[in-house]
Protein backbone atom coordinates (compact mmCIF):
# COMPACT_ATOMS: atom_id res chain seq x y z
CA UNK A 1 0.00 0.00 0.00
CA UNK A 2 2.74 2.38 1.02
CA UNK A 3 4.62 1.46 -2.08
CA UNK A 4 1.77 2.34 -4.42
CA UNK A 5 1.35 5.65 -2.64
CA UNK A 6 4.97 6.62 -3.10
CA UNK A 7 4.72 5.54 -6.73
CA UNK A 8 1.72 7.78 -7.07
CA UNK A 9 3.57 10.73 -5.57
CA UNK A 10 6.53 10.10 -7.81
CA UNK A 11 4.38 10.09 -10.90
CA UNK A 12 2.71 13.36 -9.87
CA UNK A 13 6.11 14.93 -9.46
CA UNK A 14 7.14 13.65 -12.87
CA UNK A 15 3.91 14.93 -14.38
CA UNK A 16 4.58 18.41 -13.05
CA UNK A 17 8.08 18.35 -14.53
CA UNK A 18 6.71 17.14 -17.87
CA UNK A 19 4.11 19.87 -18.11
CA UNK A 20 6.49 22.62 -16.99
CA UNK A 21 9.08 21.59 -19.59
CA UNK A 22 6.46 21.28 -22.33
CA UNK A 23 4.94 24.68 -21.54
CA UNK A 24 8.39 26.31 -21.55
CA UNK A 25 9.20 24.73 -24.91
CA UNK A 26 5.83 25.76 -26.32
CA UNK A 27 6.47 29.34 -25.23
CA UNK A 28 9.95 29.18 -26.77
CA UNK A 29 8.38 28.11 -30.06
CA UNK A 30 5.98 31.03 -30.30
CA UNK A 31 7.65 33.82 -28.34
CA UNK A 32 10.06 34.93 -31.11
CA UNK A 33 7.12 35.32 -33.46
CA UNK A 34 5.05 37.19 -30.89
CA UNK A 35 7.94 39.59 -30.31
CA UNK A 36 8.24 39.95 -34.08
CA UNK A 37 4.56 40.74 -34.67
CA UNK A 38 4.35 43.05 -31.70
CA UNK A 39 7.50 44.98 -32.60
CA UNK A 40 6.33 45.37 -36.19
CA UNK A 41 3.58 47.57 -34.79
CA UNK A 42 5.94 49.67 -32.68
CA UNK A 43 8.13 52.56 -33.66
CA UNK A 44 11.88 52.19 -33.84
CA UNK A 45 12.19 54.60 -30.93
CA UNK A 46 9.87 52.50 -28.77
CA UNK A 47 11.81 49.35 -29.63
CA UNK A 48 15.07 51.02 -28.70
CA UNK A 49 13.57 52.03 -25.36
CA UNK A 50 12.47 48.48 -24.62
CA UNK A 51 12.46 45.63 -27.09
CA UNK A 52 10.52 43.25 -24.85
CA UNK A 53 7.59 45.45 -23.96
CA UNK A 54 4.39 44.84 -25.88
CA UNK A 55 3.27 48.38 -25.29
CA UNK A 56 2.78 50.85 -28.09
CA UNK A 57 0.99 54.18 -28.36
CA UNK A 58 -0.15 54.02 -31.94
CA UNK A 59 -0.01 50.55 -33.53
CA UNK A 60 -1.67 51.47 -36.84
CA UNK A 61 0.35 54.65 -37.28
CA UNK A 62 3.59 52.80 -36.50
CA UNK A 63 2.67 50.04 -38.92
CA UNK A 64 2.16 52.64 -41.66
CA UNK A 65 5.45 54.37 -40.77
CA UNK A 66 7.37 51.12 -40.73
CA UNK A 67 5.85 50.22 -44.08
CA UNK A 68 6.86 53.56 -45.59
CA UNK A 69 10.52 52.88 -44.86
CA UNK A 70 10.46 50.14 -47.52
CA UNK A 71 9.51 52.69 -50.19
CA UNK A 72 12.40 53.34 -52.51
CA UNK A 73 14.61 50.76 -50.82
CA UNK A 74 15.55 47.32 -52.01
CA UNK A 75 13.14 45.22 -49.93
CA UNK A 76 10.07 44.52 -52.07
CA UNK A 77 7.84 41.91 -50.42
CA UNK A 78 5.09 42.02 -53.07
CA UNK A 79 7.40 41.01 -55.94
CA UNK A 80 9.06 38.40 -53.77
CA UNK A 81 5.70 37.02 -52.77
CA UNK A 82 4.47 36.67 -56.36
CA UNK A 83 7.71 35.08 -57.56
CA UNK A 84 7.80 32.68 -54.63
CA UNK A 85 4.18 31.78 -55.29
CA UNK A 86 4.94 31.02 -58.95
CA UNK A 87 8.01 28.94 -58.12
CA UNK A 88 6.46 27.05 -55.22
CA UNK A 89 3.19 26.31 -57.01
CA UNK A 90 4.93 25.17 -60.18
CA UNK A 91 7.40 23.06 -58.23
CA UNK A 92 4.64 21.43 -56.22
CA UNK A 93 2.47 20.55 -59.21
CA UNK A 94 5.33 19.09 -61.25
CA UNK A 95 6.89 17.24 -58.34
CA UNK A 96 3.62 15.66 -57.24
CA UNK A 97 2.37 14.60 -60.65
CA UNK A 98 5.62 13.19 -62.00
CA UNK A 99 6.59 11.55 -58.73
CA UNK A 100 3.26 9.71 -58.69
CA UNK A 101 3.79 8.68 -62.30
CA UNK A 102 7.31 7.41 -61.64
CA UNK A 103 6.25 5.65 -58.46
CA UNK A 104 3.44 3.95 -60.40
CA UNK A 105 5.94 2.83 -63.03
CA UNK A 106 8.03 1.32 -60.24
CA UNK A 107 5.13 -0.34 -58.51
CA UNK A 108 2.76 -1.55 -61.21
CA UNK A 109 5.02 -2.82 -63.96
CA UNK A 110 7.59 -5.56 -64.21
CA UNK A 111 10.51 -4.28 -66.21
CA UNK A 112 14.08 -5.28 -66.46
CA UNK A 113 15.79 -2.17 -65.11
CA UNK A 114 13.18 -1.53 -62.43
CA UNK A 115 15.27 -2.55 -59.45
CA UNK A 116 18.32 -0.77 -60.76
CA UNK A 117 16.25 2.37 -61.26
CA UNK A 118 14.82 2.16 -57.76
CA UNK A 119 18.32 1.69 -56.39
CA UNK A 120 19.39 4.82 -58.23
CA UNK A 121 16.49 6.78 -56.77
CA UNK A 122 17.32 5.74 -53.22
CA UNK A 123 20.98 6.50 -53.90
CA UNK A 124 20.41 10.04 -55.12
CA UNK A 125 17.67 10.85 -52.64
CA UNK A 126 19.94 12.61 -50.26
CA UNK A 127 22.07 14.57 -52.67
CA UNK A 128 21.17 18.19 -52.11
CA UNK A 129 20.96 20.73 -54.92
CA UNK A 130 23.57 22.86 -53.25
CA UNK A 131 26.56 20.66 -54.10
CA UNK A 132 25.76 20.81 -57.80
CA UNK A 133 25.03 24.53 -57.75
CA UNK A 134 28.25 25.64 -59.46
CA UNK A 135 27.72 23.36 -62.47
CA UNK A 136 24.02 24.18 -62.50
CA UNK A 137 24.72 27.91 -62.55
CA UNK A 138 27.42 27.66 -65.23
CA UNK A 139 25.22 25.49 -67.44
CA UNK A 140 22.27 27.87 -67.02
CA UNK A 141 24.54 30.85 -67.67
CA UNK A 142 25.84 29.37 -70.93
CA UNK A 143 22.35 28.91 -72.36
CA UNK A 144 21.12 32.23 -71.00
CA UNK A 145 18.74 30.67 -68.49
CA UNK A 146 19.81 32.50 -65.33
CA UNK A 147 17.11 34.81 -64.01
CA UNK A 148 14.46 32.41 -65.29
CA UNK A 149 12.05 31.14 -62.67
CA UNK A 150 11.44 28.03 -64.79
CA UNK A 151 14.98 26.90 -63.94
CA UNK A 152 13.85 26.62 -60.34
CA UNK A 153 10.63 24.81 -61.24
CA UNK A 154 11.55 22.23 -63.89
CA UNK A 155 14.07 20.26 -61.79
CA UNK A 156 11.11 19.25 -59.59
CA UNK A 157 10.09 16.70 -62.24
CA UNK A 158 12.83 14.50 -60.79
CA UNK A 159 12.14 14.48 -57.04
CA UNK A 160 13.62 11.21 -55.78
CA UNK A 161 12.44 11.57 -52.17
CA UNK A 162 8.86 11.95 -53.24
CA UNK A 163 9.05 9.02 -55.65
CA UNK A 164 10.31 6.91 -52.79
CA UNK A 165 7.47 8.05 -50.56
CA UNK A 166 4.81 7.57 -53.22
CA UNK A 167 6.05 4.08 -54.04
CA UNK A 168 5.78 3.17 -50.38
CA UNK A 169 2.26 4.54 -50.35
CA UNK A 170 1.24 2.59 -53.45
CA UNK A 171 2.69 -0.59 -52.02
CA UNK A 172 0.58 -0.19 -48.92
CA UNK A 173 -2.65 0.94 -50.49
CA UNK A 174 -3.12 0.16 -54.17
CA UNK A 175 -4.29 -3.28 -55.15
CA UNK A 176 -3.46 -4.31 -58.69
CA UNK A 177 -6.99 -5.69 -59.05
CA UNK A 178 -8.28 -2.16 -59.47
CA UNK A 179 -5.80 -1.60 -62.26
CA UNK A 180 -6.65 -4.94 -63.86
CA UNK A 181 -10.37 -4.22 -63.82
CA UNK A 182 -9.72 -0.86 -65.47
CA UNK A 183 -7.75 -2.71 -68.13
CA UNK A 184 -10.60 -5.12 -68.69
CA UNK A 185 -12.90 -2.13 -69.11
CA UNK A 186 -10.62 -1.08 -71.92
CA UNK A 187 -8.85 1.88 -70.34
CA UNK A 188 -5.39 2.60 -71.70
CA UNK A 189 -2.46 2.51 -69.27
CA UNK A 190 -1.99 6.28 -69.21
CA UNK A 191 -5.69 6.85 -68.70
CA UNK A 192 -5.81 4.27 -65.92
CA UNK A 193 -3.12 6.21 -64.12
CA UNK A 194 -4.71 9.63 -64.62
CA UNK A 195 -8.30 8.66 -63.92
CA UNK A 196 -7.98 5.93 -61.33
CA UNK A 197 -4.59 5.66 -59.67
CA UNK A 198 -3.73 9.35 -59.33
CA UNK A 199 -7.05 10.26 -57.63
CA UNK A 200 -6.61 7.29 -55.29
CA UNK A 201 -3.33 8.76 -54.08
CA UNK A 202 -4.97 11.92 -52.73
CA UNK A 203 -4.05 11.45 -49.05
CA UNK A 204 -0.37 10.99 -49.87
CA UNK A 205 -0.49 13.84 -52.36
CA UNK A 206 -1.96 16.19 -49.78
CA UNK A 207 0.88 15.79 -47.29
CA UNK A 208 3.57 15.85 -49.97
CA UNK A 209 2.05 19.03 -51.45
CA UNK A 210 2.45 20.84 -48.16
CA UNK A 211 6.07 19.79 -47.69
CA UNK A 212 7.14 20.50 -51.25
CA UNK A 213 5.45 23.87 -51.21
CA UNK A 214 6.99 24.91 -47.90
CA UNK A 215 10.41 23.57 -48.87
CA UNK A 216 10.39 25.46 -52.13
CA UNK A 217 9.02 28.59 -50.46
CA UNK A 218 11.88 28.60 -47.97
CA UNK A 219 14.70 27.80 -50.38
CA UNK A 220 17.49 30.36 -50.44
CA UNK A 221 20.81 28.96 -51.72
CA UNK A 222 20.05 28.04 -55.33
CA UNK A 223 17.64 30.94 -56.06
CA UNK A 224 20.17 33.36 -54.63
CA UNK A 225 22.81 32.05 -57.02
CA UNK A 226 20.57 31.89 -60.07
CA UNK A 227 18.58 35.09 -59.75
CA UNK A 228 20.40 38.40 -60.01
CA UNK A 229 17.63 40.66 -61.30
CA UNK A 230 15.59 42.44 -58.66
CA UNK A 231 12.27 41.73 -60.33
CA UNK A 232 12.95 37.97 -60.19
CA UNK A 233 13.83 37.75 -56.49
CA UNK A 234 11.96 35.22 -54.38
CA UNK A 235 10.81 36.02 -50.87
CA UNK A 236 13.81 34.53 -48.98
CA UNK A 237 16.13 36.64 -51.15
CA UNK A 238 14.05 39.71 -50.32
CA UNK A 239 14.31 38.79 -46.65
CA UNK A 240 18.07 38.54 -46.89
CA UNK A 241 18.11 42.16 -48.11
CA UNK A 242 16.76 43.22 -44.72
CA UNK A 243 20.17 42.28 -43.37
CA UNK A 244 21.86 45.06 -45.29
CA UNK A 245 23.12 48.25 -43.73
CA UNK A 246 20.35 50.53 -44.95
CA UNK A 247 17.96 48.96 -42.48
CA UNK A 248 20.42 48.69 -39.63
CA UNK A 249 18.62 51.12 -37.35
CA UNK A 250 15.10 50.72 -38.73
CA UNK A 251 14.13 48.04 -36.21
CA UNK A 252 10.39 48.48 -36.66
CA UNK A 253 10.63 47.97 -40.42
CA UNK A 254 12.85 44.92 -40.09
CA UNK A 255 10.31 43.30 -37.77
CA UNK A 256 7.51 44.27 -40.15
CA UNK A 257 9.34 42.86 -43.18
CA UNK A 258 10.00 39.60 -41.36
CA UNK A 259 6.36 39.42 -40.26
CA UNK A 260 5.16 39.81 -43.84
CA UNK A 261 7.19 36.80 -44.93
CA UNK A 262 6.03 34.67 -42.04
CA UNK A 263 2.28 35.39 -42.17
CA UNK A 264 1.50 33.12 -45.18
CA UNK A 265 3.36 30.22 -43.57
CA UNK A 266 1.67 30.69 -40.20
CA UNK A 267 -1.75 30.80 -41.88
CA UNK A 268 -1.01 27.58 -43.78
CA UNK A 269 0.28 25.99 -40.59
CA UNK A 270 -2.73 26.96 -38.49
CA UNK A 271 -5.07 25.54 -41.13
CA UNK A 272 -3.16 22.34 -41.85
CA UNK A 273 -0.99 21.67 -38.79
CA UNK A 274 -2.67 18.37 -38.01
CA UNK A 275 -1.91 16.95 -41.44
CA UNK A 276 1.56 18.46 -41.43
CA UNK A 277 2.60 16.83 -38.17
CA UNK A 278 1.09 13.50 -39.24
CA UNK A 279 2.79 13.87 -42.60
CA UNK A 280 6.24 14.28 -41.06
CA UNK A 281 5.85 10.89 -39.47
CA UNK A 282 4.62 9.33 -42.71
CA UNK A 283 7.60 10.68 -44.61
CA UNK A 284 9.99 8.73 -42.43
CA UNK A 285 11.18 5.23 -43.05
CA UNK A 286 9.05 2.27 -42.25
CA UNK A 287 10.61 0.73 -39.23
Amino acid sequence: MAKTQSLHKESIGLKIIIYVVCVILAIASVLPFIIMFSNSMRSTFEIQQSSISFFTKDPIGNLAKNWKVFNGKSFDPATGFINSLIVSTGTTILAVYFSCLTAYALYAYEWKLRDAFFGLIVGIMMIPGTVTAIGFYQAAYKVGMTNKLSMLILPAIASPNMVFFMRQYLQASLSMEIVDSARIDGAGEFMTFNRIVFPLMKPAIATQCIFTFVGSWNNLFVPQILLTKKEKFTLPIEVSLLNSDIYQTEYGSIYLGLSLTVIPLIVIYILLSRYIVEGVALGGVKS
Binding site: C22, S29, F190, P236
Partner: protein
Protein backbone atom coordinates in the same frame (compact mmCIF):
# COMPACT_ATOMS: atom_id res chain seq x y z
CA UNK B 1 -0.44 -16.58 -72.53
CA UNK B 2 -0.57 -14.69 -69.25
CA UNK B 3 3.15 -14.30 -69.25
CA UNK B 4 3.11 -12.68 -72.64
CA UNK B 5 0.59 -10.13 -71.42
CA UNK B 6 2.81 -9.14 -68.50
CA UNK B 7 5.71 -8.57 -70.83
CA UNK B 8 3.68 -6.31 -73.04
CA UNK B 9 2.74 -4.10 -70.09
CA UNK B 10 6.34 -3.85 -68.98
CA UNK B 11 7.23 -1.19 -71.50
CA UNK B 12 4.94 1.27 -69.73
CA UNK B 13 7.31 1.09 -66.80
CA UNK B 14 9.97 2.60 -69.04
CA UNK B 15 7.60 5.06 -70.69
CA UNK B 16 6.26 6.45 -67.41
CA UNK B 17 9.78 6.89 -66.06
CA UNK B 18 10.98 8.94 -69.01
CA UNK B 19 10.08 12.41 -67.61
CA UNK B 20 11.87 11.66 -64.34
CA UNK B 21 14.92 10.31 -66.11
CA UNK B 22 15.13 13.23 -68.53
CA UNK B 23 14.78 15.81 -65.76
CA UNK B 24 17.32 13.92 -63.68
CA UNK B 25 19.83 13.83 -66.54
CA UNK B 26 19.44 17.52 -67.37
CA UNK B 27 19.04 19.09 -63.94
CA UNK B 28 20.96 16.75 -61.65
CA UNK B 29 23.44 14.49 -63.40
CA UNK B 30 24.66 17.05 -65.92
CA UNK B 31 25.31 19.72 -63.25
CA UNK B 32 27.09 17.14 -61.08
CA UNK B 33 29.39 16.12 -63.93
CA UNK B 34 29.84 19.72 -65.01
CA UNK B 35 30.78 20.75 -61.48
CA UNK B 36 33.32 17.95 -61.45
CA UNK B 37 34.79 19.10 -64.77
CA UNK B 38 34.99 22.73 -63.64
CA UNK B 39 36.92 21.49 -60.61
CA UNK B 40 39.69 20.43 -63.01
CA UNK B 41 39.78 23.67 -65.04
CA UNK B 42 40.91 27.23 -64.50
CA UNK B 43 37.44 28.79 -64.83
CA UNK B 44 37.82 32.11 -63.03
CA UNK B 45 36.46 35.62 -63.39
CA UNK B 46 33.30 37.00 -64.92
CA UNK B 47 34.47 36.78 -68.55
CA UNK B 48 36.89 33.91 -68.41
CA UNK B 49 39.25 33.48 -71.36
CA UNK B 50 41.26 30.47 -72.38
CA UNK B 51 39.43 28.06 -70.09
CA UNK B 52 41.03 24.65 -70.23
CA UNK B 53 41.55 21.55 -68.18
CA UNK B 54 44.71 21.72 -66.12
CA UNK B 55 46.44 18.74 -67.67
CA UNK B 56 49.86 19.37 -66.11
CA UNK B 57 48.44 19.59 -62.63
CA UNK B 58 44.84 18.34 -62.68
CA UNK B 59 44.33 18.33 -58.92
CA UNK B 60 45.61 21.88 -58.45
CA UNK B 61 42.23 23.26 -57.32
CA UNK B 62 41.60 20.37 -54.99
CA UNK B 63 45.03 20.74 -53.44
CA UNK B 64 44.50 24.48 -53.06
CA UNK B 65 41.13 23.97 -51.37
CA UNK B 66 42.45 21.31 -49.01
CA UNK B 67 45.34 23.59 -48.04
CA UNK B 68 43.19 26.70 -47.71
CA UNK B 69 42.94 27.86 -44.12
CA UNK B 70 39.46 29.27 -44.68
CA UNK B 71 38.25 25.94 -46.06
CA UNK B 72 39.60 24.06 -43.08
CA UNK B 73 38.01 26.59 -40.79
CA UNK B 74 34.65 26.39 -42.56
CA UNK B 75 34.76 22.60 -42.40
CA UNK B 76 35.53 22.57 -38.67
CA UNK B 77 32.88 25.23 -38.04
CA UNK B 78 30.27 23.20 -39.91
CA UNK B 79 31.03 20.02 -38.01
CA UNK B 80 31.27 21.74 -34.61
CA UNK B 81 27.99 23.62 -35.10
CA UNK B 82 26.30 20.41 -36.23
CA UNK B 83 27.49 18.50 -33.15
CA UNK B 84 26.53 21.36 -30.84
CA UNK B 85 23.03 21.28 -32.27
CA UNK B 86 22.52 17.57 -32.81
CA UNK B 87 23.41 16.15 -29.41
CA UNK B 88 21.00 18.31 -27.39
CA UNK B 89 18.43 17.99 -30.17
CA UNK B 90 18.47 14.20 -30.06
CA UNK B 91 18.57 14.24 -26.27
CA UNK B 92 15.52 16.45 -25.91
CA UNK B 93 13.66 14.62 -28.68
CA UNK B 94 14.28 11.29 -26.94
CA UNK B 95 13.16 12.66 -23.60
CA UNK B 96 9.95 14.07 -25.09
CA UNK B 97 9.38 10.83 -26.97
CA UNK B 98 9.70 8.86 -23.75
CA UNK B 99 7.21 11.17 -22.04
CA UNK B 100 4.71 11.30 -24.89
CA UNK B 101 4.64 7.59 -25.58
CA UNK B 102 4.48 6.42 -21.97
CA UNK B 103 1.73 3.81 -21.88
CA UNK B 104 0.91 4.18 -18.20
CA UNK B 105 0.32 7.91 -17.94
CA UNK B 106 -0.79 9.89 -20.95
CA UNK B 107 0.40 13.48 -21.31
CA UNK B 108 -2.63 15.65 -21.99
CA UNK B 109 -2.52 18.25 -24.73
CA UNK B 110 0.09 16.22 -26.61
CA UNK B 111 -1.39 17.12 -29.98
CA UNK B 112 -1.06 20.82 -29.29
CA UNK B 113 2.47 20.44 -27.90
CA UNK B 114 3.57 18.52 -30.99
CA UNK B 115 2.09 21.17 -33.28
CA UNK B 116 3.83 23.97 -31.38
CA UNK B 117 7.20 22.18 -31.13
CA UNK B 118 7.21 21.46 -34.84
CA UNK B 119 6.16 24.94 -35.92
CA UNK B 120 9.63 26.60 -36.13
CA UNK B 121 10.60 23.95 -38.67
CA UNK B 122 8.35 25.27 -41.43
CA UNK B 123 9.33 28.93 -41.06
CA UNK B 124 11.75 30.28 -43.69
CA UNK B 125 15.28 29.83 -42.33
CA UNK B 126 16.31 33.17 -43.83
CA UNK B 127 13.59 34.90 -41.82
CA UNK B 128 14.49 32.98 -38.69
CA UNK B 129 18.15 33.97 -39.05
CA UNK B 130 17.40 37.68 -39.25
CA UNK B 131 14.75 37.47 -36.55
CA UNK B 132 17.24 35.88 -34.16
CA UNK B 133 19.79 38.45 -35.23
CA UNK B 134 17.38 41.04 -33.86
CA UNK B 135 16.41 39.00 -30.81
CA UNK B 136 20.04 38.41 -29.82
CA UNK B 137 20.88 41.96 -30.88
CA UNK B 138 23.49 43.96 -29.01
CA UNK B 139 23.00 46.01 -26.87
CA UNK B 140 19.22 46.38 -26.80
CA UNK B 141 17.71 43.25 -28.40
CA UNK B 142 15.05 41.36 -26.44
CA UNK B 143 17.48 38.81 -24.97
CA UNK B 144 19.86 41.49 -23.74
CA UNK B 145 16.99 43.64 -22.51
CA UNK B 146 15.80 40.68 -20.44
CA UNK B 147 19.30 39.93 -19.13
CA UNK B 148 19.75 43.56 -18.05
CA UNK B 149 16.32 43.70 -16.44
CA UNK B 150 17.03 40.54 -14.47
CA UNK B 151 20.35 42.00 -13.39
CA UNK B 152 22.32 39.18 -15.02
CA UNK B 153 24.31 41.54 -17.19
CA UNK B 154 25.17 45.22 -16.96
CA UNK B 155 25.67 46.38 -20.52
CA UNK B 156 24.33 43.39 -22.36
CA UNK B 157 26.19 40.63 -24.09
CA UNK B 158 27.49 40.84 -27.66
CA UNK B 159 26.54 37.45 -29.08
CA UNK B 160 28.27 38.12 -32.38
CA UNK B 161 31.63 39.12 -30.97
CA UNK B 162 33.45 35.82 -30.51
CA UNK B 163 33.59 32.65 -32.66
CA UNK B 164 32.29 30.36 -29.93
CA UNK B 165 29.35 32.61 -29.14
CA UNK B 166 28.35 32.76 -32.80
CA UNK B 167 28.55 29.00 -33.08
CA UNK B 168 26.46 28.62 -29.96
CA UNK B 169 23.73 30.91 -31.28
CA UNK B 170 23.68 29.27 -34.74
CA UNK B 171 23.56 25.82 -33.12
CA UNK B 172 20.80 27.01 -30.81
CA UNK B 173 18.72 28.26 -33.75
CA UNK B 174 19.18 24.95 -35.57
CA UNK B 175 18.27 23.07 -32.40
CA UNK B 176 15.16 25.23 -31.91
CA UNK B 177 14.07 24.62 -35.50
CA UNK B 178 14.69 20.88 -35.59
CA UNK B 179 14.06 19.16 -32.25
CA UNK B 180 10.32 19.09 -32.95
CA UNK B 181 10.86 17.33 -36.25
CA UNK B 182 13.16 14.77 -34.67
CA UNK B 183 10.64 14.19 -31.88
CA UNK B 184 7.77 13.60 -34.32
CA UNK B 185 9.92 11.13 -36.27
CA UNK B 186 10.92 9.22 -33.14
CA UNK B 187 7.35 9.12 -31.84
CA UNK B 188 6.16 7.65 -35.13
CA UNK B 189 8.86 5.03 -34.75
CA UNK B 190 7.67 4.12 -31.26
CA UNK B 191 4.04 3.93 -32.42
CA UNK B 192 5.16 1.45 -35.07
CA UNK B 193 6.51 -0.97 -32.46
CA UNK B 194 4.39 -4.05 -31.94
CA UNK B 195 2.41 -3.45 -28.68
CA UNK B 196 2.78 -7.10 -27.72
CA UNK B 197 6.45 -6.47 -27.00
CA UNK B 198 5.50 -3.83 -24.42
CA UNK B 199 2.87 -6.10 -22.92
CA UNK B 200 5.46 -8.83 -22.52
CA UNK B 201 7.79 -6.35 -20.82
CA UNK B 202 4.97 -5.34 -18.47
CA UNK B 203 4.36 -8.95 -17.57
CA UNK B 204 8.04 -9.42 -16.86
CA UNK B 205 7.83 -6.50 -14.45
CA UNK B 206 10.01 -4.03 -16.31
CA UNK B 207 9.69 -0.45 -15.04
CA UNK B 208 9.42 2.65 -17.20
CA UNK B 209 13.10 3.36 -17.44
CA UNK B 210 13.96 -0.24 -18.22
CA UNK B 211 11.23 -0.44 -20.84
CA UNK B 212 12.49 2.70 -22.51
CA UNK B 213 16.15 1.77 -22.60
CA UNK B 214 15.83 -1.95 -23.21
CA UNK B 215 12.78 -2.08 -25.50
CA UNK B 216 11.90 1.27 -27.03
CA UNK B 217 15.40 2.48 -27.88
CA UNK B 218 16.60 -0.69 -29.64
CA UNK B 219 13.32 -0.84 -31.57
CA UNK B 220 13.67 2.70 -32.99
CA UNK B 221 17.34 2.26 -33.84
CA UNK B 222 16.66 2.40 -37.58
CA UNK B 223 14.72 5.63 -37.35
CA UNK B 224 17.37 7.19 -35.13
CA UNK B 225 20.03 6.28 -37.63
CA UNK B 226 17.91 7.76 -40.41
CA UNK B 227 17.51 11.00 -38.47
CA UNK B 228 21.25 11.03 -37.74
CA UNK B 229 22.34 10.63 -41.36
CA UNK B 230 19.79 13.02 -42.85
CA UNK B 231 20.63 15.57 -40.18
CA UNK B 232 24.33 15.19 -40.91
CA UNK B 233 23.78 15.76 -44.62
CA UNK B 234 21.55 18.74 -43.87
CA UNK B 235 24.14 20.00 -41.41
CA UNK B 236 26.91 19.89 -44.02
CA UNK B 237 24.70 22.05 -46.20
CA UNK B 238 23.97 24.60 -43.53
CA UNK B 239 23.81 27.95 -45.25
CA UNK B 240 20.84 30.24 -44.62
CA UNK B 241 21.30 30.79 -40.91
CA UNK B 242 25.10 31.05 -40.87
CA UNK B 243 25.19 33.34 -43.88
CA UNK B 244 22.49 35.69 -42.60
CA UNK B 245 23.27 35.61 -38.90
CA UNK B 246 26.97 35.02 -38.68
CA UNK B 247 28.70 36.19 -41.86
CA UNK B 248 31.32 38.88 -41.27
CA UNK B 249 31.03 38.60 -37.51
CA UNK B 250 33.02 37.06 -34.72
CA UNK B 251 36.16 36.20 -36.67
CA UNK B 252 34.22 33.97 -39.12
CA UNK B 253 33.18 31.70 -36.27
CA UNK B 254 29.99 30.76 -38.08
CA UNK B 255 31.43 30.47 -41.57
CA UNK B 256 30.26 27.15 -43.05
CA UNK B 257 31.18 25.07 -46.11
CA UNK B 258 28.39 26.48 -48.24
CA UNK B 259 29.40 30.01 -47.27
CA UNK B 260 32.90 29.16 -48.51
CA UNK B 261 31.63 27.71 -51.80
CA UNK B 262 29.34 30.64 -52.45
CA UNK B 263 31.98 33.23 -51.60
CA UNK B 264 34.54 31.55 -53.85
CA UNK B 265 32.22 31.44 -56.85
CA UNK B 266 30.21 34.61 -56.41
CA UNK B 267 32.59 36.80 -54.48
CA UNK B 268 34.53 39.59 -56.20
CA UNK B 269 36.96 37.22 -57.98
CA UNK B 270 34.55 34.50 -59.16
CA UNK B 271 36.77 31.52 -58.48
CA UNK B 272 34.41 28.98 -60.01
CA UNK B 273 37.19 26.40 -60.25
CA UNK B 274 38.00 26.22 -56.55
CA UNK B 275 34.33 26.52 -55.62
CA UNK B 276 33.61 23.52 -57.85
CA UNK B 277 36.49 21.59 -56.30
CA UNK B 278 35.11 22.29 -52.82
CA UNK B 279 31.64 21.21 -53.99
CA UNK B 280 33.06 17.94 -55.30
CA UNK B 281 34.78 17.25 -51.99
CA UNK B 282 31.53 17.88 -50.17
CA UNK B 283 29.68 15.76 -52.69
CA UNK B 284 31.98 12.82 -51.99
CA UNK B 285 31.30 13.06 -48.27
CA UNK B 286 27.56 13.17 -48.93
CA UNK B 287 27.70 10.20 -51.30
CA UNK B 288 29.46 8.20 -48.61
CA UNK B 289 26.78 9.17 -46.12
CA UNK B 290 24.03 8.37 -48.62
CA UNK B 291 25.47 4.91 -49.09
CA UNK B 292 25.15 4.36 -45.37
CA UNK B 293 21.54 5.50 -45.61
CA UNK B 294 20.96 3.24 -48.58
CA UNK B 295 21.94 0.26 -46.48
CA UNK B 296 19.73 1.35 -43.64
CA UNK B 297 16.71 1.80 -45.85
CA UNK B 298 17.00 -1.05 -48.30
CA UNK B 299 13.95 -3.22 -48.29
CA UNK B 300 15.03 -6.08 -46.08
CA UNK B 301 11.94 -8.22 -46.67
CA UNK B 302 12.23 -7.85 -50.39
CA UNK B 303 15.92 -8.70 -50.32
CA UNK B 304 15.14 -11.83 -48.35
CA UNK B 305 12.36 -12.77 -50.75
CA UNK B 306 14.71 -12.41 -53.68
CA UNK B 307 17.31 -14.58 -52.03
CA UNK B 308 14.65 -17.21 -51.42
CA UNK B 309 13.51 -17.09 -55.04
CA UNK B 310 17.06 -17.48 -56.25
CA UNK B 311 17.59 -20.45 -53.98
CA UNK B 312 14.39 -22.06 -55.20
CA UNK B 313 15.44 -21.49 -58.77
CA UNK B 314 18.80 -23.08 -58.03
CA UNK B 315 17.13 -26.04 -56.41
CA UNK B 316 14.78 -26.47 -59.34
CA UNK B 317 17.73 -26.36 -61.70
CA UNK B 318 19.76 -28.82 -59.74
CA UNK B 319 16.76 -31.13 -59.66
CA UNK B 320 16.55 -30.90 -63.41
CA UNK B 321 20.19 -31.78 -63.66
CA UNK B 322 19.52 -34.97 -61.80
Amino acid sequence: MRNKKLVSYGKFGYIFSIPFILAFLVFSLYPIVYTLVIGFTNLEGLNPKDVHILWDNPFKNFAWVLKSKLFKKSFTNTVVIWIMNFIPQMGLALLLTAWFTDRRSKVKGQGLFKILFYMPNIITAATVAILFGQIFGFPSGPVNATLIKLGLSKEGFDFQLKPMRIKAVVAFIQFWQWYGYTMVMLISGVIGINPEIFEAADLDGANRVQTFFLITLPCIRTIMLYVLVTSLIGGLNMFDIPSLYAMNHGDNGGYTLNCFIKDQAFGPDNFYDTAAAASVLMFLVIVALSLVLFFIMRDKDEAKLKKLKKQQLKMARSRKAY
